[in-house]
């Protein structure tokens, strides 16, 4: 009987008991999503790979604290969010030129609407959002976190998170108008 046919809850229980093979099945199953999410959050594949790796090592050590093993996927998302935002904060501390990242001169709005699909267009719009706005957006819409949680993770006040989200929404809705 192969572990690949097992449900998340069973794999999480076995992993919590120290079964590295079960953990590997969980990682193969959810890793690609976690990585995609972390790339959108950090804006960098290298940072995402580091954050996901660190998160999974932490998860391995803390799995026995997870009360409901059937919720392992969303728990992993929260651990990855934590590591990815830690990385964002430490990068911010060492990178005073943060704002310049936001003003990427690359593609203009005209080019965006020429993108081959709605998802490509959204990808370009998100890539052009100022970093803080994009992070708030991804944590909210993909991570499903509350303003309070986002504020805590990014070291911002709830008021700041609210403002950044609203601005991100305004930009995304406007720039994506052609794709409605």
């Amino acid at each position: 009987m192969s572990l690949a046919s097992a449900g998340d809850a069973l794999l999480a229980q076995r992993s919590a008991d120290g079964d590295a093979v079960a953990f590997e099945v969980l990682v193969r199953r959810h890793g690609p999503f976690l990585r995609a999410y972390a790339i959108r959050l950090t804006g960098s594949a290298a940072d995402a790979d580091d954050a996901v790796q660190e998160a999974l090592i932490t998860a391995w050590n803390q799995l026995h604290t997870l009360e409901d093993p059937s919720r392992v996927r969303s728990w992993l998302v929260s651990v990855v969010s934590r590591k990815a935002t830690d990385q964002i904060r430490s990068r911010r501390a060492s990178d005073e030129l943060d704002d310049e990242r936001a003003e990427d001169p690359g593609l203009g709005p005209e080019h965006r609407t020429e993108s081959s699909s709605r998802l490509d267009a959204l990808s370009a719009v998100l890539a052009h959002l100022p970093e803080g706005q994009r992070q708030c957006w991804v944590l909210k819409e993909v991570g499903g976190f509350s303003y309070e949680e986002i504020g805590e993770r990014l070291g911002m006040s709830v008021v700041t998170v609210r403002g950044k989200l609203a601005r991100a929404r305004a930009t995304v809705v406007k720039d994506m108008e052609a794709w409605r």
Partner: protein, 201 residues
């Protein structure tokens, strides 16, 4: 600001984009009639929601485009976790020489129990715990394990087979005196065919 709603707000409601964004994230409660009755506000809320769901689609597409993890990266991860094995308690064994002490880790016993249970066709062991005097040679212990079984197999028979195999295996490889072995069927699973799509690999 890219979208100036002016002092009259969106749809002349007096509500700004920030307000609508907030309202959406509060799950539109408590309901605000002025927003709920304004076509402009409703259109804006619908757009905001659509963009949220499109963002989730985007991440799902990213995932589909990279469905496999890079093996080198995965190998590094697995190596790291193998260095942090949670061995659990030490379970003593009788040493042939009284000056020596021998023990086996709880983690190794669990591994033994899992492999005994998994050897029953149609069964996968979930959690397993050892209770009782594990830290005494020959101590009386209780084994508690949860199993998942394949649908449409006689459940009681499978559970009994698991119990017997775990008992035999523990008897052969440890000095524990086994009190009871409680087997709980906590889940059922469906066998995936190797050819099936998805992540079964």
């Amino acid at each position: 600001m890219t979208m100036d709603a002016g002092s009259a707000g969106i749809g002349e409601t007096g509500f700004t984009l920030d307000d609508l964004s907030d309202y959406l994230d509060r799950g539109r409660t408590p309901a605000i009639a002025a927003i709920d009755n304004s076509p402009e506000c409703q259109a804006m809320l619908a757009s905001m929601e659509r963009m949220g769901s499109l963002t989730r689609d985007l991440v799902a597409q990213d995932q589909r485009e990279h469905p496999m993890l890079e093996e080198g990266w995965l190998g590094g991860l697995l190596e790291s976790i193998s260095r942090e094995v949670r061995a659990g308690r030490d379970i003593p064994l009788t040493a042939p020489d009284p000056r020596a002490s021998l023990s086996v880790t709880e983690g190794a016993i669990r591994e033994l129990i899992r492999s005994a249970g998994d050897s029953v066709d149609g069964v996968l062991v979930g959690s397993c715990t050892l209770e009782g005097d594990v830290d005494v040679v020959g101590g009386l212990v209780t084994v508690d394990l949860a199993i998942s079984v394949v649908l449409q197999t006689p459940v009681l028979e499978l559970a009994e087979q698991v119990r017997q195999r775990v008992y035999t295996r523990l008897l052969a490889h440890t000095e524990l005196s086994i009190g009871t072995i409680d087997v709980t069927v906590s889940d059922v699973h469906i066998v995936t065919r190797p050819a099936a799509d998805g992540d079964a690999s």
